[in-house]
Every structure is written in C-alpha cells, then in structure tokens.
Subunit: 355 residues, 2 copies
Amino acid sequence: MGVGRSSSRATIRDVATAARVSPTTVSHALNGKGRIHPRTRARIQQVAERMGYQANRLAVGLRSGRSGVQALWLPLGPDATANDTLALDYYMRLASATATAVFGHGDVVMLLPPVLEGQDLTAVAVDGAIVIDPGEGDRRIEALRALEIPCVTIERNPIDPKDPWCVTSDTGHHVECLLEHLSAQGAQRIALLVPEAFGAWAEEQRAAYRSWALDHRQERLTRPVALRPAFESALRVVRAMLRWQRPPDAIVIGAERFVPGTMRALADAGRVVPNDLLVAVAVDGNYARGSNPPLTAVDLQPERQATAAAELLRNRLDGLAPSGPRTISGILQVRTSSQRPGRRQPQTGKFLGVS
Amino acid sequence: MGVGRSSSRATIRDVATAARVSPTTVSHALNGKGRIHPRTRARIQQVAERMGYQANRLAVGLRSGRSGVQALWLPLGPDATANDTLALDYYMRLASATATAVFGHGDVVMLLPPVLEGQDLTAVAVDGAIVIDPGEGDRRIEALRALEIPCVTIERNPIDPKDPWCVTSDTGHHVECLLEHLSAQGAQRIALLVPEAFGAWAEEQRAAYRSWALDHRQERLTRPVALRPAFESALRVVRAMLRWQRPPDAIVIGAERFVPGTMRALADAGRVVPNDLLVAVAVDGNYARGSNPPLTAVDLQPERQATAAAELLRNRLDGLAPSGPRTISGILQVRTSSQRPGRRQPQTGKFLGVS
DNA sequence: CTTGTAGCACAAATCGATTTTTCAGCTCGC
DNA sequence: GCGAGCTGAAAAATCGATTTGTGCTACAAG
C-alpha cells in the first residue's frame, strides 16, 4: 500500500549500504554535484541501477520546494456533464498531449477539477499551472495569482492580452485563410457565425472578417450566436440567414458547437452541401469530422499547443525570460463541405503558418 | 516559485510559535489525536485558521507513505493525436468527473501519459490508479501490478473478469434494451454492428444479441466491424447489409466510432432515418448527438462511473473488503433516429437499471 | 618540520509534517 | 508521606532525500 511498493522500494540509504558509502556520497554521485572519485561514482551508479533505485519524489520535493507537479486547468463548467458540451474531444487531445509533454520534462500533470474554490487549491502542492482558454475575470487565473502559482495560458488571457506567458492560435489568420479558401472555391457571399462573448477569440474572428470583407468589397455578413443553447441558437440564426433576400453561398462556423444546429438548418431548408452552399469550421473536431458531409475545418493542433505550453511553463519556473507568446498555427483540413463540384481539388493539410 | 507561495506559507512551526505551544501539540490539535485540553485545542484551531495554515502535502506524504495522488490512465494509444480517434469526449467527461470525485476524497488526480513504460512509472508517487477500458494483456495493468500499485478499472479487465475492483456498465443489458426499444417501434429485423475484439465489451454485446434474437425468433444479424479504420469499415459493412436480399430495418451501432461510416452508407443508399430504417447507438457521445438526425443512444453516465471508481479505489486503499463490481446502468436517450413517424413517442431519459 | 591546499568522503542539519516517548505536575489512596 | 495513576504538553525520532560544514589524507611549498 502507499506510494508505489513503498515496503520494498530501495532508499538512498539502502544504496549507500550496498555500495559501502554514505548517503551523501550516493546523492552526490547520482546528481553529479560535489567532488567524487570517478571510480566511486561509477560504482555507485551501477549499484543504484542494479537495485532499481529511484529517488522518492516526495522527499525530493520536500527538500527542494518543488513538487514536480504541474496543474492542468480546463475551462469546463459544472455543466461539463450536461449534454450541451463544448469541444470535449479537443480538450482531451490537449490534456493527453500535456501529460506527455510535461512528463517529458520529468514532471507530472495534475488534473484540477473543473470547479474549485481558491481555498481548496492551497492544499494542493503544485509548482505551476496551465490554464486553457481563460475568459474575462477567470476565477482560475485569480486563484492562481492569489497563491502566487506561476501559470501559462493556452489562448490569450483577455484581462492581460500582452502577457507573454501564453500559447495562442492565430485565430484571426485562420478565419482569413478559410475565407480565402471558400472564395477560391467560388463563394461570393460568405457569412460568419461568431460566438457571443468568448474571450479574445470571438473578437479576433470578427476583426479578421471585417478586414477581409473590406479588402474584398464583400458585404459584412457576421452574425453573433449565443453559446447556450448552442444547437437552437445556431439553428435559428442560420434559418434566418437562409431567408434573406440574398442568402449567403458559404458559411464559416466560428465555434464547433454550432455545427449540428447549422447543418440541421441547412438540411431542413433543403440545401445540399457543398452543391448549394459551402461550409467550413474554424475549429476541427468530432462534429466537423463526423458531419455529413464531413466539414472542412482548421485543426488547432492541440498537441503542438500542449508541447509549447509545457515548455513555456518550464521556462517560467526556471526563472528564464519570457520567450514571448508562442503562436501555433493550425492546419487546414479540406473536406467535402467546401469543395464545389467541378472545381480543382484544393490542397489539404495545408499549414496555415504566417509566412 | 515552488510549491504554492512557499516563501510565505505558514508551517506547523509558525502556528506553534503563534499559539505558544509545540509543533507536536499543533499536529495533535488539528488531527484530533492525542490528549489535549479542549481549550488549548480550540485556541490552536483558531490560530491555524487565522494564519491560513494548510499542512504541506509533501511532508505529510513523506511521513505517512501516502502521496494523496491517484493516477488516471486512459486507453489512448499514441494515435490519440490522429484523426481516427475514439470517443474522446466520453473520456474527457470521465476524466473531469474523476478529478472532481477524487478531489472530494481529499486527494488529487494525476493524468498519466497515454504511452508510458513501466520503468518510468516507478518515479511517480501514486497511491492508486484508475484504469479505463482495460484490454487483453493491457500493459497498464501489468505495469501497475509490477509496482504493486492498487488499481480499480472502469469496465471489466478481460484477463480477470471476476476482479471485484471494477466499475462496469451493463453492456449486455443496454443492447437488450435498445433491441427492445427498436422492436417496440416496429423494427422486425434489427442488425448489430459489433466492434471486433474490444475487451469484454464486444463479447457482452454479442451474447446479449444472441440471446435476445433467440427469445424473439429473429434471425441473427450481427456483423463484426474493424475498429481501424473505423469510418471505412463501418461504411463497407453497412453498404453490404443494405444489399442483402432482406436488408435490416433497424441498426444498433455497437461503438460510437462507427456512427459516421454508418450514416454515410445510409445516406449514400438513399435511406432516410428514421422513415426507412431505425438507428440506435450503444454509446452516447458527440457523434450520436451531432448526427443528422440525432441518434438514439445510451448515455453511459461517465460521471457516475467516475464517482463509483473513486469510491472503490478509496476503499481498496483503506484496506476494506471489495464491495463487489459496481454496475452503473446507462440512460436511454431517445432521439429522432429511432422514432418511427406515427408511433407513440417513447419515454426518453429512461434509466436502464436492472429491476 | 611545519603549514597550506587540494581531493575525497562523511556527519550533521534541513525540509515540514507525524508518531512515539518522556516528563512535569497533580491527585489519590494507603 | 510516598508511590501509583492520570493529565496535558513537549522532546525526540522518523519519513527520504539534499546541502552544508567537517575531517582526514597526501603532497607541495615555505
């Protein structure tokens, strides 16, 4: 019981005894500190290896003041359980990749419960934290700041957009690329479904669309959609769109959760994708992939985001200077929904990095 | 830097000094152990409260031999990053709920990287582990056993099906209920898409189907579908089905990942759901919810599974006798795909617990 | 011959808690 | 009046590592 096979696990003392030296010497030998005769060092290393010695993380942590644990804090509300869920598969990819990346640095990842009061957090021994999709006045950020726990965010913190300790996807640029792509496929009137108030995200989408529309002399067809209930909101908005005098001939869906509602509205109205109307999504995920037809979307590359975040956090903990916000560009997954029959098949898997 | 606000955080010594007692007395007072004058105890508790004292988990862990950390090990391969993913949203719900449940017991959850060699695990200080969907000869189980780390599984361990330390969903019963439901909606020839070799799961589905078919004098229409590539396999199998002399009038999809392929095959063949053919899924998720039309499915209730697993693990760590495998029954979410027009609308949200 | 210094290893202190043991003071009984 | 028993609290040992300071030896310089 207890930590690993605590009963049988070798301690530094055991190794010392076996190697006929003091624990001090073992510690120095294995950590390369102090002055030790090379031969002694080699011998100790061998003995430690043979005994399968691994330093007790708790003891190391206690002494060094570093627990070797990084917290991962997802933006899930208490309603993560409800049917009306966010892009859980994206978060799962992110979480899984974070665990791998942090583990690669010799630390481990702790999954913080979605809802957690700041108080409770004091009880937890964490060196740093990775906060996903911070929102306005995010309680997670506040709690961490109160406890002086260094953190790195994935996506900008709207409160402090210039915080260099963050990983960001170039949302605006993604929207621009999608518009460009749809345009190249012949779309003339492209609408954008933009989530209502969702951090810095929605704003970037809106701005990118506005500037693109201006450049291309296209009427601005942006519609805000309430995040909750996602299905009904999207359904209603798209339905309304289709009744316009001059309805759009392409739709960019700004948030994954609007996919089902949008597709339903299109199906109800008898519009066939991509023949009658092109569709693309700003965030790839199950909805986009599993839709019928599959939807063109931007893969945000959660794996690369996680890797970058883990690296930033490590730097921050090591007291290094901030290496600036890290921008992870997505990859355009072209699928049926945006390929007008007859047109030249566009390139898929295109890296959307800014040149 | 370091663990919390280590620089400023109050230790037991600080509390002792402030309360003019020894650290021993503080420890006893707060843990209710030893003999202490009630007045002294109350005073110490007040002082501790005022100073915001929280025992250092690392120190407690070192002394007690319990780290207070439970590992969560998901069945994700290195391909969790690929497009061809399993039900990531289900796992995310599970992970999130596990974090909450374990936190409720005063412990925290560590997310283990999907791929991890047994060696590396020794370095990690974990009291116990929750293993999701163990497979045949699962390396996770092996690694944990080698390190004598107690674990609880969600879904049965095919190697040791009688292991009482597990939470199981009554898969067979779920299939039975789906068949019953479809039958009540008028289906006469119900086919089952069963995943090829996926733990105890597929077997239970198959057995339940067989026995139900026997009872209802229905021809056995079971087809195994390869898990990879899920889309193409399902597509091919369903396509073939539709070309049978007497094609099925309803399909039960055994694994969520087969949904897109199935729906595509149906759409390609011009079959309209639910008018021409009824569909239901054994596992609810994004695919089932976001499909067009939305598919009737069984919500496995990952939240309840997680709660049960956390409780079982806690019991196991406390040395209690196994409280038997815990069966968590799903909830039938009736959606459009299984409601034959004209028929009485069936009850949704039905708890599938065995009476 | 003494002193200085470098090399190598160890003893002891430390991290922050818990657990075991000790101890002072007080009451009670004989 | 003296040992037994009880109460309340503190001292000391412990968990397993790291870090600081100490000591011994050998060899070179004064």
